[in-house]
């Protein structure tokens, strides 16, 4: 793996390299060099399978982090390629020419995060939301509760309880004494 990283480093500048498990690694690359890296990984290093492509909204940094998760069937290794892109008018090059099925992921990201992939087939079509008109809902600045209250009729009389407290109160009167597995947050 290290050799692989070296080889890639020889080509371009790797921003970060992180080993999660024996079979799970992450590298972070520049936005402009992503396509180069991916095609190298696919064509020369045997990472032929694109398992998924997902995004994380780093609202505070005003960035989206895209993760292209690749898999090598020969050495059975997962490799995540991370890219950070700007959050405003987010745009990323489409990789549907490398992996044809990537169009579906890109369409999803377009709908849920508002990341644009110019040239990706059918990217404008709705994916799970039909007729969505608001801000892409997976952006963290979208207030889903407010939206729900505004849009869907609330049935009056609904109350919410913290399950742990509620159960403690209602069902397990002697909660402290009851044997249980210790949880981290206690």
């Amino acid at each position: 793996m290290e050799q692989l990283v070296k080889r890639i480093n020889g080509m371009i500048h790797l921003k970060a390299y992180n080993r999660q498990r024996d079979d799970l690694f992450f590298i972070t690359v520049e936005k402009s060099q992503l396509e180069l890296v991916l095609s190298h990984l696919k064509n020369n290093e045997g990472f032929t399978h694109l398992a998924f492509l997902q995004a994380v909204d780093f609202l505070e940094d005003s960035k989206f982090q895209l993760t292209y998760m690749l898999y090598n069937y020969d050495i059975r290794v997962n490799l995540g390629v991370k890219v950070l892109i700007g959050r405003d008018k987010a745009e990323m090059t489409s990789i549907h020419k490398l992996w044809a099925h990537a169009w579906q992921y890109q369409r999803e990201l377009h709908e849920l995060f508002g990341i644009n992939f110019p040239g990706s087939p059918r990217v404008e079509e709705s994916f799970v939301l039909e007729g969505w008109e608001e801000m892409p809902p997976m952006r963290r600045d979208f207030d889903t509760k407010e939206y729900s209250e505004r849009t869907f009729y609330q049935r009056p009389g609904r109350s919410t309880n913290d399950p742990k407290e509620y159960m403690k109160e209602k069902m397990y009167k002697n909660y402290a004494a009851s044997p249980r597995i210790r949880r981290d947050d206690e």
């Binding site: 799970v128 039909e130 969505w132 008109e133 509760k145 729900s148 869907f152 609330q154 919410t160």
Partner: protein
């Protein structure tokens, strides 16, 4: 009354079907559904008795609720002994079982299926999600109250309700049917505009006829 007026009135008696593109409107019927009253009392009572003992169920497995229907059908709980049978097409079914949360995408299909059922038709809404949104009460994509979109006869609370609860719900429905209290199909036609308003409010890309015959 001149010709123009008649045309005007006829137009009002037709569904506008504005959600459909012009060239597709000819493929769909544009008749407004109307109320159909029950027969006279005793005859209707007899029919209701028969209906309550032969419930043909259209199971709409939207969410986790679909899981609970399997044991209900099979030998553990065996709903057939109550005269309840699954039916694969809405045209023939009389009970609509909405199996849990309904996203906007799903509610479209729920409306469509409900409208395609032939009355008298009954709706059983399954799980908390259909009552008030349940654990999805704050979701941007899931409705909170099913009865704003289609008339519901019986709610079964729970997350998820077990098959026993379902059977209890069915029995409650039977009681209501025999008592002649299940007039959901007429409620829907009577409050047609209200239901449609609610439906169209959340379904932004309304691309079906206003009533799915």
């Amino acid at each position: 009354m001149n010709r123009k007026h008649i045309d005007e009135i006829e137009k009002q008696m037709k569904l506008a079907n504005e959600g459909l593109p012009e060239e597709e409107r000819k493929f769909f019927a544009d008749v407004i559904p109307t109320r159909v009253d029950p027969f006279n009392k005793y005859w209707e009572q007899f029919l209701n008795w028969a209906r309550s003992r032969s419930l043909w169920m259209l199971a709409f497995g939207t969410g986790c609720g679909a899981t609970e229907l399997r044991p209900l059908m099979t030998s553990r709980f065996d709903m057939a002994r109550f005269g309840i049978f699954p039916r694969p097409t809405p045209r023939q079914a009389s009970v609509f079982v909405v199996g849990g949360y309904a996203s906007i995408k799903t509610i479209k299909r729920i409306i469509r299926s409900y409208e395609q059922m032939q009355g008298p038709k009954y709706v059983i809404a399954l799980g908390s999600c259909t009552i008030n949104g349940g654990m999805y009460y704050d979701s941007y994509n899931t409705i909170n109250r099913l009865d704003y979109y289609i008339p519901v006869d019986v709610y079964i609370a729970g997350c998820m309700p077990r098959p026993e609860a379902l059977i209890a719900g069915f029995n409650r429905l039977k009681e209501k049917i025999v008592a002649g209290e299940c007039e959901g199909m007429n409620e829907y036609t009577d409050k047609f505009d209200w239901f449609k308003k609610n439906q169209k409010e959340i379904i932004k890309d309304w691309n079906m006829p206003d009533y799915n015959w």
